[in-house]
Symmetry: C2
Subunit: 196 residues, 2 copies
């Protein structure tokens, strides 16, 4: 995964990518223009091209950054000597945190990846499929060990990941609980729902 | 709610609305044209206008049909003499069924309602808000009666409704369990997660 990026070691390119994620979420990738991005970054459109080649490169960066984080946490969780239910809890907390604290990027990678072009598109789809399979395998293992109810693992992954992407509407709601409470509530319901 | 519509008492207009829902889901409301709709229905574009005034009327019909079903089931469930958890289960089964068996309409009303124009838009948004509040009130009642874990009711509604809208990806998946199994799995996890 490489170093964690703090505000102080963000490169100019990182800043551009982050602003692009905000723009792509708000307007959609298709409708967003490099000119608008330049306005938001506060530079001339021409000078954006010193850092990135094209609008599509920005989408690649966003999607593959997120994909890297997914595969990194999955490697980490699979290697840990903890119960299946604890593994699932860890993955869920990772996803909830992503939706709360890195909303723009995660949202864009989840909704706009279809505008990637090949070879990136098929590679990204393949990574998504693999991720979900590995997640389902942890659930399956938990069922075998009788930690988890007898359910369809693929359906359980679908339920949990979609419930978490619903945090989108939490961002939009006016009267809302804070991010930590949201996390605890989601874990209570989702992990509670799996537990045998 | 009025009579249940079976295939035999569908009017020409019903057929057009149903095909419109399919078209709007596939292409998005904005991108879809009346000409394409006429092609799918198998008539001349001009003859569509004998049944409906405009593309926007189709969106109104779809969204408000779904809204009517929501408010109808909520009235029904609220009036029943069953536990809070049973009420929630009933609502969840209703939503799961909608996503499995009336996918096109439910999907369009959930994603494309933002293209409604006022007064329909604010009316529809208001109905959505009211529906979610009534749903949250049932959860709150269940918490008070100690049937349900101490959780934030609004978050619980968010989790459950988004988990169910994830059935969209179930429709797209190749190797999938059948609709009834999907329903049972979802109920096991979601109702199980709320239960004290």
């Amino acid at each position: 995964m490489g170093r964690i990026k703090t505000d102080s070691n963000l490169t100019r390119k990182d800043v551009i990518i982050s602003k692009a994620a905000t723009l792509f979420r708000e307007k959609g990738y298709k409708a967003a223009s490099m000119r608008e991005l330049a306005d938001i970054v506060g530079v001339e459109a021409a000078s954006l091209y010193n850092h990135i080649k094209s609008k599509s490169e920005l989408l690649h960066e966003i999607c593959f950054n997120v994909a890297n984080r997914f595969s990194h946490i999955m490697d980490e969780v699979e290697a840990e000597k903890i119960s299946s239910l604890e593994k699932i809890e860890k993955l869920l907390r990772f996803h909830i945190n992503g939706m709360v604290h890195h909303f723009e990027e995660v949202y864009v990678s989840d909704r706009e990846w279809k505008y990637l072009s090949d070879p990136y598109l098929s590679n990204f789809q393949n990574q998504r499929r693999t991720y979900r399979k590995r997640f389902a395998a942890i659930i399956e293992d938990g069922i075998r060990k009788k930690e988890i109810k007898k359910i369809d693992p693929t359906t359980a992954v679908l339920i949990m990941l979609h419930a978490i992407s619903g945090i989108e509407s939490w961002h939009r709601s006016k009267q809302k609980i804070n991010g930590d409470e949201l996390e605890e509530n989601m874990i209570t319901i989702l992990v509670g729902g799996l537990k045998k």
